[in-house]
Symmetry: C2
Subunit: 345 residues, 2 copies
DNA sequence: GGGGAAAGTCGAAGCGCTTCGACGACGCAT
DNA sequence: ATGCGTCGTCGAAGCGCTTCGACTTTCCCC
């Protein structure tokens, strides 16, 4: 292994000079700099990460905690993770992968040992067990997701309340008066996952404002589960003319079932989804949808962290919530409700 | 930050003693050990990762390189990654997340700087650009996937050839004489991704052996693409009585299209998939399938790496290929082919 | 009862890097 | 000319840990 000292000898300078060439923290003459960089190149020198971390107490690593369970939302999770890794690299950081399994103690471990300088948490619950650690003298952190009380925390998320409202607005604007919401699996609500509840709240309040009747049902992703939920909804509310779906795995089953029961989309019934754009676009009926900006979320999370890490303390990005504005893309699955059956007959 | 020295002072012993208590590399009396562990506990001591890595030249980190593109196979990728992280932790290792973006140079960087002791590569191509680095004095590595020439490399994968053969055997055993294979998107074959080509080769050779006629078509995941491919297959080979699908996103579209064109599964046509068990089980017709043992793959990859890292040089797990035996689970989507139409009429 | 091995502990020497203070050599204003 | 600030470089002191050799004590076996 090539060390700094060997580079220094080879270039005929002192070790500190090499270090300063590398870090740029002191002025170095052009001549010397060239000699040093040439030696570095020739010897194939790579600074030792551990030694660097020890001497500078900066590991240039951020930890990313992904949920262990994979019962939902999987492609989005991976996309966020990849965006985090890519953005972090662009800023000279590497990413350590933690699973939710170890819980809060993983944060302490990784942070207390100086392994990671900061953390990004995904899949945040409204009342997340990892939050106390972060509030009390925790490491710099950014949450992807929004807990119940974001005070003193740094959060990035899609504005799911607005997303819900947007769906209702779109449907109400088309003339729908009664809609049904097919949500994530019951477990997601039971865990009080922020995004699910916030979407719901956005849907509910906007529905109330616009005098749209609304029914919400959690739903597992399997075909059979969707069939059951759909049957019950149609039984309970025969006049439902539109569905809002927030459950990636329920999308295709729903479309298939509507088709099978002779309901045309969007002529007889409209469908609006809150899901990854790719899913919406590739569906058997391309879906009008509010996209989940996975890449953007990952990117923003890292950028906030870096700002916090490199910025003046409590300067930019110290804390606060950043909610991305949802965008609704109209595709083929939404239209005006069918004319009422009775008046014409 | 609490240091080893402070713990030593607090416990009334020397620093090296504390170190030996931690590592167990030298015998320590029970009394001393208790005093030391108590101090560690009280002070909340955590060894500094960088210092450790520097002094021992072991970072206890393994790098995991995931593909950047997410055009296929996403849930499986995440599942493998999570399994890797979990297993690694169980052995005292952490996982650094690399994306394919940086390519071979990321391997050099992370390994040359002592950041990671070893690497796991996912989504290996038959002729992967990262392989030369690994063969020539590279770091310990395990590939999840199988390149064209695995000589000198450590690989773990599902035996996709056998998986292909298994599908043919199952269908041939039921009496099918003519099948069609709906594959991954063309790009996957263009990249020469190992698993896709190996599955195909297994399908082909077994089909030849059992005198089954077979047609293979790559296919994008969108509903429209599947519709096009299906139409062409049925046009070209009207007597196809079974499909083998290796494309997670094509599964539901295919089932929907068969249904819509009045073909009952499995009465009129059988479907066998090579995909994650969850997808197969949750499909609108629960699919007979060969599962992709994502967790097992991640676990085995780490275990081989650890064996290599801790074992005597060139002892256990030095190199070689480990192929997991595929398992075919019969569900509702496969049955005997329909009786020929002519003889009865 | 004496020799040797094993147990238990300590001190010191690094591991490879960053960073601080110091120092000579300039250039500029006085 | 003299003094001061800057530039460019060096030496040395750690950062917190592991590990080696050495030392003392204990124990066992002949």
């Amino acid at each position: 292994m090539v060390t700094l000292a060997e580079v220094a000898r080879h270039a005929g300078v002192s070790a500190s000079t090499v270090s300063y060439v590398l870090s740029g923290k002191r002025p170095i003459s052009a001549v010397t700099r060239r000699r040093v960089t040439a030696s570095i190149e020739q010897l194939g020198y790579q600074p030792h990460a551990g030694a660097r971390a020890l001497a500078s107490s900066r590991s240039r690593i951020i930890a990313l905690m992904v949920p262990l369970r994979t019962d939902m939302y999987v492609p989005v999770m991976l996309e966020i993770a990849v965006a985090v890794a890519t953005t972090a690299r662009a800023h000279g950081y590497d990413v350590l992968l933690l699973t939710g399994e170890e819980g809060p103690s993983a944060l302490r471990r990784v942070t207390g040992s100086g392994l990671a300088e900061a953390v990004i948490l995904m899949d945040v619950q409204l009342d997340d067990g990892r939050l106390p650690v972060l509030r009390t003298a925790g490491p710099p952190a950014v949450l992807v997701g929004l807990p119940a009380d974001p005070a003193g925390l740094n959060c990035v998320d899609l504005d799911f309340r607005a997303a819900g409202a947007l769906c209702v607005d779109h449907l109400a604007g088309l003339g729908h008066r009664e809609i049904a919401v097919i949500g994530e699996s019951p477990g997601v609500y039971a865990r009080h996952t922020g995004f699910a509840e916030r979407t719901l709240s956005g849907l509910r309040s906007r529905a109330a404002e616009r005098e749209v009747r609304m029914l919400h049902r959690p739903c597992e992703g399997s075909h059979d589960a969707v069939a059951g939920v759909l049957a019950r909804i149609l039984d309970e509310r025969p006049h439902v003319s539109a569905f809002v779906v927030q459950n990636e795995t329920a999308v295709e089953p729903l479309l298939a079932l509507l088709r099978r029961t002779g309901r045309a989309v969007p002529e007889d019934v409209s469908v609006v989804a809150v899901c990854a754009d790719q899913i919406a676009a590739q569906a058997s009926v391309p879906l009008t949808s509010v996209a989940i900006p996975a890449q953007e979320l990952g990117r923003r999370a890292v950028e906030r962290l870096i700002a916090r890490l490199t910025g003046r303390p409590d300067g930019e990005g110290a804390a606060g919530v950043e909610l991305l504005t949802p965008v609704l893309t109209v595709r083929d699955s939404s239209g005006p409700p069918p004319p009422p059956r009775t008046p014409g007959a």
